[in-house]
Symmetry: C2
Subunit: 242 residues, 2 copies
């Protein structure tokens, strides 16, 4: 028979890595749902169930160091959102990646807004570089899916601009109390991508080739087909332009 | 006969407002072409031909105060870029506004990048609010030109997203040594607007009404007509979607 009573949790000494991970997890949770200004080291210590000096032992740089570590961890998670097999229609791949990205935004709402809106006390050239790294990784992934070997400046600008649009729309979505429903936002962002790809194809031969190849893989019942059929009634009033 | 020699400029005491304006102008010039980190109060004093203590008398908050004053002044100038008569095709109004905006970006290159890329030492909630004020003013102007009385959330999100895309494209343009030529960038941003308006019209009745009204004013030889004729060869390979 054991003498430990069920109300006393078994005490186990955590390894350095485990303790670090536990503190980071507590910090991530706090920074996800509050502006960094509203998170103190005491909050992190309390959430992890440890003393403030212990937090300092693992993160001598205090809140700034914890914030940057949490941000790097979130950046890794976010970068994984874009990983997607190179099969099937492009719009379905984008839809799946956006579902993961928007779930991340939903789960890190206050932290996401604070990070991207700028002017935060914890913002440094390092945090800016981490965010830029995420954008670059996302752009690279999309170029891989567009199956373009040496993307020229116009195609790269198009992809990077769309990524900024996704960020901006996510911030507006958070700001408006997560309206419209996330699936509507996602579909609109996919439509935005198709529209921008098509408009850029009008003046850039490389984008035109990528757009034709992508459209060939689309299904009539998929996002590109639905968009095409819905756009026709809007543009057919503008027959004088042709 | 006057005793003043031509090499000694006539000394005239500047009024408080004139002196303030002169210092601000010097600061604006410096902050336009260098990152704020690379501008010192001594630089401002030297550029204005005054002593450092005099700069402090007018701007006791030092560099931060000068930067914020310069930013507000630049914000006023930038906001004027969007003022445009409500006549003629929408794409021509956009073209003219973008020409002014991109000339501003060209003339304030380093300062524009430093301000928008974040992580700067002079970035505060006040500078962020000033930049957001510019974005809001630009969005309001575009909604005025779309002649929509009570713009709904989708149309507002579309306009705000496009404004972010313009900013992002401007930063990329500066980053790539002001390539492509500014007229190409401007035309692409107009195409982007038409594409986004059309794609958003596909799912939002209010945007559809605004898009139809805007397209009705477009000329065949204008940007919308050129884009429409160029897009056809790209999308006609996707007839299976209709």
């Amino acid at each position: 028979m054991t003498r430990t009573t069920p109300t006393t949790p078994a005490y186990r000494r955590l390894s350095v890595e485990e303790r670090r991970g536990q503190l980071l997890e507590a910090a991530l949770q706090l920074f996800a749902h509050r502006a960094p200004e509203e998170v103190s080291l005491d909050d992190v210590a309390e959430a992890a169930g440890v003393s403030r000096p212990l937090v300092y032992r693992y993160f001598p740089g205090g809140k700034q160091q914890l914030y940057e570590a949490a941000l790097r961890s979130a950046a890794e998670e976010l970068t994984l959102c874009f990983a997607e097999a190179q099969t099937g229609p492009l719009t379905l791949r984008l839809t799946r990646a956006l579902d993961r990205y928007l779930a991340f935004v939903d789960g890190h709402d206050a932290g996401f807004s604070a990070l991207l809106q700028g002017g935060s006390v914890v913002e440094t050239s390092r945090t800016t570089a981490t965010v830029d790294g995420i954008r670059r990784a996302a752009a690279e992934q999309i170029l891989v899916h567009l199956a373009v070997e040496r993307p020229g400046p116009r195609l790269r600008m198009m992809v990077r601009t769309w990524i900024t649009a996704v960020e901006a729309a996510s911030l507006i979505w958070l700001d408006e109390g997560k309206q419209p429903p996330v699936a509507e936002l996602r579909d609109w962002l996919v439509d935005h991508f198709i529209a921008l790809l098509t408009a850029t194809a009008a003046t850039d031969p490389q984008t035109a080739a990528a757009a034709r190849a992508a459209l060939a893989l689309e299904a009539a019942e998929g996002p590109a087909g639905v968009l095409a059929r819905r756009v026709i009634p809007v543009v057919e009033t503008a027959a004088h332009l042709l």
